[in-house]
């Protein structure tokens, strides 16, 4: 995490690339909060509070640097349950929560009943800014849960595993969400698997400079990543696509 803080170059708020003021303010905020923290748990809380405050302040990503469609990978059974409740009905949502209906089959039922105009509850993610990626040449297979979760360096790889991890994909038009920005250490929070974007000014000719890129685990290729404002699930252009369970 210290390396990530040292490498962070895109935490600039609404200023130009290269402006250090926002990062300095973030570090000062961390230092001020840490002074009062007496134990590791308290230090963690202080850091996360500072991160929350500085989320969504990465350099703006230009619309022309993004494709027409964004993808987001989710592990949330709660989100599937909320979608099922609205489109398939309450008994399906209850069965999913109780484990009588598998998330795989819930995705099938959602595909058959898909009508985003009937969705009034639920958001793409749980934080004010959410991570998204997109298709690009040489991308990791979108059908392989293990490979995709490692290509995205999802934080559950940092901890002992259980058999509960699943992965599904949400797709939506880029123009349906606001505020695309470079992800920064503030969005990464306590996760050390995050990789800050290279210290390069965004240039259209150099795709690697136009958004963040993950530091993949294993042999997989890096995925592009941005953050944008959270939005209603009604922006989704298709039903959630089941990818798979992550083997323990």
């Amino acid at each position: 995490m210290l390396e990530n803080l040292q490498a962070e170059a895109h935490l600039v708020g609404n200023r130009e690339f290269g402006d250090p003021l926002e990062l300095a303010a973030f570090l000062r905020r961390c230092a001020a909060r840490f002074t009062a923290a007496s134990d590791p748990a308290e230090q963690h809380r202080c850091y996360e509070e500072a991160c929350k405050e500085f989320s969504g302040r990465g350099l703006r990503v230009l619309r022309e640097h993004l494709p027409e469609r964004l993808l987001r990978y989710s592990t949330s059974r709660t989100l599937l349950g909320l979608l099922a409740e609205q489109l398939v009905g309450e008994p399906a949502s209850i069965d999913l929560r109780l484990g009588f209906l598998s998330p795989e089959k819930a995705c099938d039922l959602l595909a058959a009943a898909w009508d985003s105009s009937r969705l009034s509850k639920g958001e793409l993610g749980v934080t004010p800014q959410v991570f998204a990626t997109f298709e690009h040449p040489g991308a990791t297979s979108r059908d392989d849960a293990l490979a995709m979760s490692q290509a995205l360096a999802l934080p559950f790889w940092e901890r002992p595993r259980t058999s509960e991890e699943i992965l599904f994909e949400l797709a939506y038009p880029t123009d349906s969400v606001d505020g695309p920005r470079f992800p920064t250490v503030a969005e990464a929070g306590w996760s050390s698997l995050f990789q800050p974007a290279e210290e390069l000014p965004p240039e259209t000719e150099e795709p690697r400079s136009c958004c963040g890129w993950t530091r993949p685990l294993g042999p997989h290729s890096a995925q592009p990543e941005i953050v944008h404002d959270n939005a209603s699930v009604a922006v989704m252009s298709s039903s959630p696509r089941w990818i798979g369970r992550i083997p323990v």
Binding site: S74, T75, E158, R161, S163
Partner: protein, 286 residues
């Protein structure tokens, strides 16, 4: 006072040894669970990037440990303490309550039976008061979904009466149907009451799912539906339409055909081939 640092014990296969929780004591577990379910955990960070449900890791841990593991028993006792605390705090809703209830929806915890049974009884007695006590209908519904897992209405069980009362309330009838049985066979005796209580704009979609699940689970629907001939006619028609839509043989129409055909043969003396053809044509008519 300084909080004791937690040291996780990871097995060779990468899974967590639950005994490391047991070693920390229940006070530490309570503080950890409260923070983890609220979304903050330095030891087992929650993946906000993928919108991870905070309870997911704990569900995995409990399933992996098994109900008899001492660590699982400690966590169950802490869960009950937090439920009691939530009851004291109501109508305030602490940030950990929703994930805690979702945890109780996914893992059976014997110790919580009384708590959920009491909430179920209170809701059956006065749903509006229960809703007010928990601030909103959403929290109350989360409690009742967890009650389906922890205090189901099996035959001769004490929660059954409360579920039967809720079966007649439009806001809770689908929850009650789930509380009274997991399979289609178990739900069948209550299906007609559910159909009458369920708001019309919801019931076809919900029935469609119930039939889908029964077909998917390969339940012997034909033998079950033989016990449902007294269902209201619109429910019988709806079941047939759903069976047809899902590629199965409509049941009640076939019953009607065989009964009508046999009666006509006795009473009219018309040729059997003619009657069967006529019945088939009328069954196919829109």
């Amino acid at each position: 006072m300084k909080e004791e640092a937690f040291h996780s014990i990871v097995r060779a296969d990468g899974s967590l040894d639950p005994s490391c929780f047991e070693r920390m004591g229940e006070e530490w577990i309570e503080s950890w669970l409260r923070n983890h379910l609220s979304g903050s955990d330095p030891y087992f960070p929650i993946d906000t990037r993928t919108g991870e449900d905070p309870e997911s890791f704990v569900v995995g841990l409990l399933r992996q440990a098994g109900a008899t593991h001492p660590a699982a028993a400690s966590i169950a006792r802490v869960v009950l303490r937090l439920l009691d605390e939530a009851r004291r705090l109501a109508p305030q809703v602490p940030s950990w309550l929703s994930p805690l209830l979702r945890l109780c929806q996914q893992v059976h915890l014997d110790l919580t039976f009384s708590w959920f049974h009491e909430e179920l009884q209170a809701t059956a007695r006065d749903p509006e008061a229960a809703q007010q006590r928990w601030a909103d209908l959403q929290t109350l519904r989360e409690i009742l979904v967890a009650a389906v897992a922890q205090a189901p209405g099996r035959p001769h069980s004490s929660p059954r009466g409360s579920w039967l009362v809720l079966l007649r309330k439009p806001d809770f009838c689908s929850l009650a149907l789930a509380g009274l049985g997991a399979s289609f066979e178990q739900k069948l005796p209550f299906l007609a009451d559910w159909w009458r209580s369920c708001p019309p704009e919801r019931r076809r979609r919900e029935l469609s799912y119930l039939i889908y699940r029964a077909v998917d689970q390969e339940e012997p629907l034909t033998s079950f539906l033989g016990k449902a001939l007294s269902f209201p006619s619109n429910l019988r028609e709806a079941i047939d339409q759903e069976l047809h839509a899902q590629g199965a043989q409509p049941f009640f129409a076939a019953q009607r055909r065989s009964q009508g055909g046999a009666g006509a043969l006795v009473n009219s003396g018309l040729r059997r081939e003619f009657l069967l053809g006529q019945n088939q044509r009328s069954a196919q008519a829109p």
